[in-house]
Symmetry: C2
Subunit: 362 residues, 2 copies
């Protein structure tokens, strides 16, 4: 009857196993497992009794054993691109934080947890964690980690359409080209004659698509492109590039900055050159930061909706993990949102507390 009394020789005293619960409840291991997992056919009395005994012993099933047996770990990798030896870059802070936050919530709601795994992780770390699938943020062209994960048969969903022929299970992205064209039209509508671009020297898809959309728009409307590119992972280089852009002989009268800090970079550069915003210079930048609602003047921003992207990526991944695999990759496009503020409007709206002034037409 009681072969396994309390615990066997090597067991940690703090951890009760399923055997201990079975012995304490006077039932078999199978009955305990079925009672706790809601399986099998047991009368409610037995089920309740087993649950009660398990609670009393503080029983927690071993995640490792369960993973080994079922093949599911409940863990999702969150792979972030690395710049140098840092997991993510300064300019992506707000985007990444919001995206990770939403992804964490979405995963949690379906019983999964997120593991942060930089793309340049040592190989032993990657193989040391049992993943059910992976989210990849902006995968580079021939990421060895991603291709190996795919080769192992793990579902991979990427934030940003995969570069090259990376065979991901699904991807979620904005329509970056449409967003850029929309902003350029918005600036032109506000009276801009020569629109400049602050862009990056990196080769990621976002930078590439946005820049080429800008170049095509310039060609379409017959404007010479005016842009400065800088290494976006350098927190200081943006201010220098903004300065360079406004110092050019063909100084633009409107600028769109692709990265989060470009708004303050451009505002500072405009002040240095005595340019008024928005009278002399229209400014828009791509940012998720809330500071641009309170700058002087408030800056129009493009939001890539990282919350929706993070949620969508995780949903698609878990669908792929739990359901049967789709035969072809699922693609999902998340609309962007433009928060129009003073910096891109020719006639700034009156601020709340400022004293009344004579109306000025331009």
């Amino acid at each position: 009857m009681s072969r396994a009394e309390t615990s066997r020789r090597g067991s940690r005293p703090g951890r009760a196993g399923i055997r201990d619960v079975a012995a304490a409840a006077g039932v078999s291991i199978t009955t305990v497992s079925d009672a706790l997992n809601g399986k099998g056919r047991l009368p409610d009395a037995t089920r309740r009794h087993v649950r009660e005994v398990a609670d009393r012993l503080g029983y927690r099933p071993s995640a490792a054993a369960r993973t080994l047996r079922t093949g599911k770990s409940g863990l999702i990798g969150l792979t972030v691109t690395t710049y140098g030896d840092e997991p993510f870059t300064f300019t992506e802070f707000a985007y990444f934080a919001e995206m990770a936050r939403a992804a964490t919530s979405a995963a949690l709601a379906r019983g999964y947890a997120l593991v942060i795994l930089p793309a340049t992780s040592r190989h032993d770390v990657w193989s040391n964690v049992a993943l059910d699938g992976t989210v990849v943020i902006d995968p580079s062209d021939q990421d060895p980690v991603v291709s190996e994960l795919v080769r192992q048969g793990l579902p991979v969903v990427s934030d940003g359409r995969p570069a090259g022929t990376l065979p991901v299970t699904a991807w979620v992205d904005n329509d970056h080209e449409a967003a850029v064209l929309d902003i350029l039209d918005h600036l032109a509508d506000a009276g801009a004659r020569r629109i400049g671009l602050l862009t990056g020297t990196t080769t990621d898809t976002y930078t590439h698509l946005s820049t080429s959309a800008y170049l095509r728009w310039c060609e379409r409307v017959g404007q010479d492109p005016v842009y400065e590119a800088y290494p976006a992972h350098d927190p200081c280089a943006g201010a220098v590039a903004a300065d360079r852009l406004l110092a050019r002989p063909d100084r633009p009268d409107a600028v769109y900055g692709l990265f989060d800090p470009n708004g303050t970079d451009l505002l500072a550069a405009a002040r240095r050159y005595g340019l008024r915003v928005p009278e002399d210079l229209l400014i828009v930048c791509c940012s998720e930061s809330t500071v641009y609602a309170n700058t002087e003047p408030p800056v129009t921003t493009l939001s890539l909706k990282p919350r929706r992207i993070g949620t969508a990526v995780v949903q698609l991944l878990i669908d792929a993990i739990e359901g049967e695999e789709a035969d072809r990759p699922v693609e999902q496009v998340i609309p962007t949102e433009l928060f129009v503020r003073t910096s891109s409007q020719r006639r700034p709206p009156r601020t709340t507390v400022s004293p009344p002034r004579a109306p000025e037409e331009k």
Copy 2:
């Protein structure tokens, strides 16, 4: 000789097990395990041969099986406080992102990976992941999750000294009281006569310590406290609180804001009331954001050094995991850093490109 040919019946074709490697190399399972893990006594020829065969078969040891056998998963929990149903709050974005980034790097360098686990996670998620230890960010007074982890014997290291009697293994924190006193002295040195505080309504340790240090400082120098408290997790409430603070009859001539967006909040409120910074109002806020280097004017910020905190927390945790447990909690204090900029200096330094003006003394 070849009992286990390629794989047994149920095995996934993509995944080669240690048995397959042993069979392909013509050795036993023990020899494969020893050869790959650098244990046992094997001639180099055998070791190399086994490694080569394992590589050829694309063998990856099962993380779940290894965890089950060794009791170590190589996973560290990163527990973040939750506001509502969101893992972390808006005002902590930059701090959390930097801290998580540093923690991820530090963990990775020692072969560990981080799992994001909000404090309000469903219980099944917590017990479903095998953790070797946990980092807790600013643990609340009687966090049920933390106390249960401690009861299970898992090492727990907290960012922020634990409130109440939470028995953590170690903690890392800044000297928040000294930092606040330092800032207040700095503002007083710059000429401030009445220093206000923008603080939070939450009960976390950071807010509590900082506010009480402010109140004690006021008592010491004989100034009436002037402060406004607001729910820091609300992204809009900060601007309103800053406005309230400057609308008071006993309007302060200097303000320290405890949270990241307070700098722009205060700048915007100052503009609304026609106050010049720093001539009429000195501003300092606690922030890790780089935008304050380029605002108008640049804002003095206090950095809590989240990179150093994240690194230290992970180092202490892994030390506790791998070494023997210390008998008493290890405490580590990280110094803060004050980046003095124009907003807290009575005589602002000349900006680079601005036209020369007549020197003005005040």
